[in-house]
Assembly symmetry: C2
Homo-oligomer: 569 residues x 2
């Protein structure tokens, strides 16, 4: 953009439109070239701006905030590798369908590829992970161009939200001077009246009532339907009542928000390890909502059902989640609305069908409770959090072991807390930052359940506690290495396993807490966890509750739990 006030006038209008379209949060990082964008964001009173030294943290913070708030978050950073540090979060946002508006600062064309500082090729930097890339170019702030800029901002937001949600990337070529004149002056073209965005886009999606009628017709011949619900933001809380009224077992990942109510089945990951149970409880109709749950036994079971068992998937965002090519039909309508519509018309299912699932679930729950009584363990921590966290709280879980334990061992609970996780690309990177992002926009407290490797990976994310004054309760399962790898065949390759796969680090996270101004305590018993959780949730500080576990014992316990649950049903 040209020198003088033009850049600043154009960016002020751009940011004005972001705010008019509903953006409420923005993330910044230090830098010089991004100054015009940062100033425009910071000077708009409708936006809360969060500063992050590390752009990777900034990106994942934005992912967490957008997930928890269910609205697009803006991010900016300076030119060069700063922008590349956002790549992991942009990719997670693409995979997990999280709306982000990424505004990278760049040098203008005359400073590209000539050895000017901090200049890299930012054109299409995020490749296929950006839903939309746009090179903004340089402009004078004529009324026509401000008008175009307002439209561009709206288009960025609506594109992030439309259909399959995701990140959009606008690259701004910025010329000096990078600071505005003292008096920036009037807007050459003010926005529309009454705070309306320049451009609105939206409207109804596919007709849920019609889809519900179609589903009811399909279900007419089904005697043993099951509903499988995976990760969804906002949660699928509303499907529980419909499933209950239909008499359809609801196999609900905690990430779906639907592990509640009279139809929910919690321990499908354990139940489906029992060959007899899986075989005798094979469904004749599968309705899948949102993402596929993580559970391998569930995925294998769905794959094994036979090619004539209809499997329907609600996939309003074109996520195409079906690794086994089992799906027969995809519905683009809203899952909850469609199930509610179907419940009105579908015939009642024999109550024995739901009871068979619920009874087995209760027996598995009993076996788990028996085995987990006493000592604190990784599965017990997951079960405890599911049972004890306040209803208004959010549980953010790390990928890798934490999300699997929460899926396997969290019981059905009608007032279950919300559970979030970065399950788009399932990376362990950025987890701390995303949890802080969720904490920044959530009204209730946020608890992060995380392992030591993921915490070591994003340890810099703890800086949000100090700089942002944000409060988070971190329950750290520390087994000094990647516990999940102990479950894999590679664990027997002893020459390489410890050093290159398990990667024990010997970190004493009390020092990390001291570095970032967090509270830290060791927790060694169930009572200790309960007490610590109580204190942490009451504290305005970020607290790390560290549970030490042993990797080998953890593997053994998981195998015992599976065996006990299978034996119980």
């Amino acid at each position: 953009m040209p020198a003088g006030p033009d850049t600043h006038l154009l960016l002020r209008a751009f940011v004005d439109e972001l705010a008019r379209c509903g953006v409420r949060e923005a993330c910044t990082s230090p830098g010089s070239r991004s100054t015009p964008i940062v100033l425009a964001l910071v000077r708009d009173d409708r936006l809360r701006c969060f500063s992050h030294i590390d752009e990777r943290c900034s990106g994942f913070f934005a992912v967490g905030a957008a997930k928890a708030a269910c609205r697009p978050v803006a991010i900016t950073c300076t030119s060069g590798t700063a922008a590349a540090n956002l790549a992991p979060a942009v990719i997670e946002a693409w995979q997990a369908r999280v709306p982000l508006v990424v505004l990278t600062a760049d040098r203008p064309p005359e400073l590209r590829e000539v050895g000017a500082g901090q200049t890299i090729d930012q054109i299409g930097l995020y490749g296929s992970a950006a839903k939309w890339f746009f090179e903004v170019g340089t402009h004078e702030a004529t009324p026509e161009r401000v008008r175009w800029m307002r439209m561009l901002a709206c288009r960025a937001v609506w594109t992030a939200l439309d259909g399959r949600r995701g990140p959009v990337h606008l690259n701004f070529a910025l010329r000096e001077p990078l600071v505005p004149p003292v008096e920036l002056g009037e807007d050459p073209l003010p926005g529309r009246s009454a705070g309306r965005p320049w451009l609105l886009r939206g409207g109804p999606g596919p007709d849920a009532a019609a889809a519900g009628r179609a589903l009811a017709v399909l279900a007419r011949d089904a005697h043993r339907p099951v509903v499988v619900a995976g990760r969804a933001e906002p949660g699928l809380d509303a499907i529980g009542a419909a499933c209950h009224s239909l008499g359809w077992p609801l196999l609900a990942d905690p990430l779906s928000g639907a592990r509640r109510g009279g139809a929910a089945v919690a321990h499908y990951d354990l139940l489906l390890r029992a060959p007899t149970f899986s075989a005798t409880n094979a469904p004749d109709l599968v309705v899948r909502c949102a993402d596929l749950p993580t559970s391998k036994p569930l995925r294998a079971w769905l794959e094994s059902l036979g090619d004539d068992v209809p499997q329907l998937a609600f996939d309003s965002q074109a996520a195409w989640q079906d690794p086994s090519a089992s799906v027969h039909a995809v519905l683009g309508s809203d899952a909850a609305a469609t199930l509610v519509a179907a419940a009105v018309r579908a015939p009642a299912t024999d109550p024995a069908w739901l009871s068979a699932w619920r009874d087995a679930d209760a027996r598995a729950a009993g076996a788990i409770d028996d085995l987990l009584a006493g000592e604190l363990s990784e599965p017990r921590v997951a079960r405890e959090l599911g049972a004890r966290m306040p209803a208004e709280a959010t549980l953010f879980v790390a990928s890798s072991m934490a999300v699997r334990d929460v899926e396997s061992f969290t019981a059905v609970r009608d007032d279950a807390p919300r559970v979030l996780c970065n399950r788009g690309a399932n990376g362990i990177d950025g987890t701390v930052s995303s949890a802080f992002g969720a904490a920044a926009v959530s009204s209730g407290p946020v608890v992060l359940l995380i392992g030591d490797v993921a915490l070591a990976h994003d340890v810099g994310g703890l800086l949000a506690a100090r700089r942002g004054g944000l409060s988070l309760t971190i329950v750290l399962l520390n087994n000094d290495g990647g516990g999940i790898f102990e479950f894999l065949p590679v664990a027997s390759e002893r020459d390489a396993f410890e050093e290159h796969i398990a990667t024990p680090h010997g970190l004493d996270f009390a020092h990390a807490a001291a570095l970032y101004g967090c509270e830290h305590e060791h927790v060694a018993s169930v009572e200790g966890l309960r007490d610590g959780l109580g204190r942490a949730l009451d504290s305005p500080a970020t607290t790390i509750l560290e549970v030490r576990t042993a990797r080998a014992a953890n593997v053994a316990l998981h195998r015992e739990l599976a065996a006990a649950a299978v034996a119980a049903i």
Copy 2:
């Protein structure tokens, strides 16, 4: 690749060829999908394998190692955002022309875009920053295919080295089982005899003798030539003698390795701030070697020389460094060899020309020494390190202020230590990791000069001290924020400056040292720095020597130094 031993046989042959081509270091990170690549690397005795929990650190570690060792380094990581975390380092390697062989693990096609875990679009993931991208596909380990695999590995290494050096990216689709059978068996096609690579590529570059004759002809009419030398790895130590024999002032960035000998001018950044000096010492021939130095006054001076003053650039790697479009001719030959050849034939330059520069440099040096006597300050730290570090040591400097202070305030020294910096994209990211990478392959000690924001950005890089048992001396200039931004106009935008540009963090890095098992001491005087440096260089541990400074005072001191140097000449 198919199940069974095939994958492992192919990868063993691939890694065998990497080693035959001269690769000696590899970096790994934890993960499951990358198991076959990790095992092949770890099980080749010719490779030292460094494990990193954070792939971003791994990538920058590889950059530092490849820079310091001047040979390609291999990196692998698991699928998903793990690979995206390498992006900043891959981009730095592209910009700085550092050879890397990036081997990403991926899921096979049938697990892509179907909701399988940890799967993202890795095809062309690094965009234009990868010199070469290749999707390896899946193969059986037939002799023909092993032969092709051996060629592929050689091609990866030679492509990273050929012409413009840089990173290459090979994406490996890997199917289960990911661990090899107990007995992997014979190689279906062993490599060539006598440890030779399957394919050698190389040969002489453009003829330096001929280029030298051409340069001598050009120089015949020149009475006032100057040589400007910027970042180069390996260093341009050899040009000093040629410049001295030619009587050509050598304006040498410490990153060139050429700030030594009787022709070197150290304080050009300050000299060229004096309008009289710049005008009266305008050259009639400029010879540029390697990258452009960072100095803004130097860059502005080169731009101002007039379009008829011939400027020649040695650019054997097609870096195209010329932001002001001042270069008349580019020579593809080796700078040192060409200058040596030219020195034989070029007429002697009036010794007064070199003396004018050297005398001014000496006066500037005197003024700097006077002003820096006494208290420890950021410029004094840079000057001390340049003067005191052992000749066999390496100084790794962070981008941002550290590299500028080293350029401005390091004196000429015949046994100057090597100076390295990530100046490709000039990011502050990954600096700690790159310095550890340099330390891992250097025979002498390595000192990192870094500011607090860069250290906070890559604090996780310190884990290399603990896990890799690596020793590094870190001289930390802590002014609690981005000191460089105080020099910019944005410093007057007070509503946004502190929080979003300067980003003070209040970190006490003693806790970071404790977390990662490093020594830490505060240094508050010149003697303290000397003593601390002595202890740190003798210690097998990584030591952080922390110098507290104030941002505002630092700006004032820099302005005083410039004024004093200008007044002195």
